[in-house]
Symmetry: C2
Subunit: 290 residues, 2 copies
């Protein structure tokens, strides 16, 4: 048996980076106190979701990985708590900016994954801020099992989950910042959850999603913003079992720590017994990678 | 607007092929009378699920497509009802046997797809009967829109759904024969549904699944069968919307016709607005087809 408790943290983002780091650290410590060894924070939790507007000065939020304040702070926290903590951050690599994850494990940085799929609409203007990632999907052999981490929009792509599962991921983690769709006028929460439940079900790998909550607003008279914009991040963070059943799910507004224990060996045996990886036909899937 | 009503038929399979064809035809006519133009029958509905046991004489059930009794009968029915009717049948191609679908449209046969993924365990011994299909995934430009049809075990593979969606499928149909797992001792119905809900959600294409119901039993003293075997096919046929929400779902035992109307143009617009096909990165998906 390889049992591990995983936590998903759902939080709103306060005004300053320092406040955000303090809040995130307090929630991570709470998760660890309840037994979590893998602790997932939401996407880009250091700042308000700046992609609501296009501002060149926000490029300055990006840093090389080891200069990022969250990475620096949580390297120490992950060592103290003997925990695995993926940190979502805005990365600068010379002249190119990425939406990235640094995977921290007991005080060590295992490496960086850069978000492969970048969304774009009037309210999630990510193509202005992030170049599509060049690392390819990755999995991480941590002290608590092999994990794959996709970042937000990545979670809509079956290719992300399947690739990480083929590379050996035993858990799929998705830090997220998703909420209202002011133009499309739909509540996508169910759609968003079902898509990831499907990844768990098809790959027989549990999915853990951590989203932000809260209303974040931009007004056109402030800071040369060109459009009024408001997003309500809808929470709904969750942890599934290996068949895609949602075992625990957060509300739309609360700040909370969700926890679940997994037996990675038991899940591996079930995954093998199901036979779907045995029966794949990669030669028939060319259209997917062309 | 391109509106089309789709039906999924859930039925048990009677003793003889003639009885099965009569029952299937009656249910297809009922669906058409209620407005259905695309009508999906379950997998291999002409016979009891013979894959519970290995018997060489069952190879004789397979025929070339135009000699299959269901294909012959439903070619006329599809013409009379001006309907699209995919027919699941056991196909013989010279010395090779396949688990196949013939897609019938208003009296014409559009072609055959052969099941790509073949399962195998003590109760679903399909690798004894079916060679993995050599056609590749297909979509069909029918009189009622472009449909993709996967066959049972295919439904567990995100690659099947994604490939058909990339080829233009506006609806994904899955004829099925799935039920209890006597060895694994689990009820996979929720798992099975969530997996396909995920395909709909990720591809923004509705999924229609038609399963059989009823208990089918094989006893070791009959017909040289080597093991006692009993399967309870668990029904649960369903139709989702384009976000994977189950809009209508059958019970575990009933014989029924499920119906739903789709506006294929409206769904296409929503699919486009969601942006996931715009943001795919095929060059990053090599591991899937290698």
């Amino acid at each position: 048996m390889r049992k591990v408790t995983v936590a998903a943290i759902q939080m709103s983002v306060p005004e300053t980076r320092e406040q955000a780091l303090d809040k995130a650290e307090a929630l991570v410590r709470k998760a660890a106190a309840e037994g979590a060894k893998i602790i997932l924070l939401p996407e880009l939790f250091e700042t308000k979701y700046f992609c609501q507007e296009r501002r060149y000065d926000y490029y300055d939020l990006a840093t090389p990985v080891l200069e990022n304040p969250a990475v620096k702070r949580f390297l120490a926290v992950s060592e103290e708590l003997s925990a695995v903590i993926p940190i979502s951050f805005y990365e600068r690599d010379v002249n190119v900016l990425y939406n990235s994850i640094a995977v921290l494990d007991c005080g060590k940085m295992l490496g960086v994954y850069r978000k492969t799929h970048i969304p774009d609409d009037h309210f999630y203007q990510e193509k202005f801020y992030f170049t599509p990632g060049n690392t390819g999907f990755k999995v991480w052999n941590t002290s608590c099992g092999t994990i794959g981490v996709g970042i937000c929009w990545d979670q809509w792509f079956p290719e992300t989950a399947r690739s990480m599962a083929l590379m050996g991921a035993e858990l799929l983690l998705y830090p997220t910042a998703i909420g209202s769709e002011p133009i499309l006028d739909c509540n996508s929460k169910g759609h968003w959850q079902r898509c990831m439940q499907g990844h768990a079900a098809a790959n027989l790998v549990p999915v853990i999603a951590a989203n932000r909550v809260g209303i974040e607003e931009v007004n056109p008279d402030e800071n040369n913003a060109f459009q009024q914009s408001e997003l309500k991040f809808y929470g709904g963070s969750f942890l599934t079992d290996e068949t895609g059943n949602i075992e625990t799910c957060a509300g739309a507004d609360e700040e909370t720590v969700l926890l679940r224990e997994y037996d990675l060996d038991e899940i591996r045996d079930f995954r093998m017994s199901w036979g779907v990886f045995r029966d794949r036909r990669p030669e028939m899937y060319k259209i997917i990678s062309e």
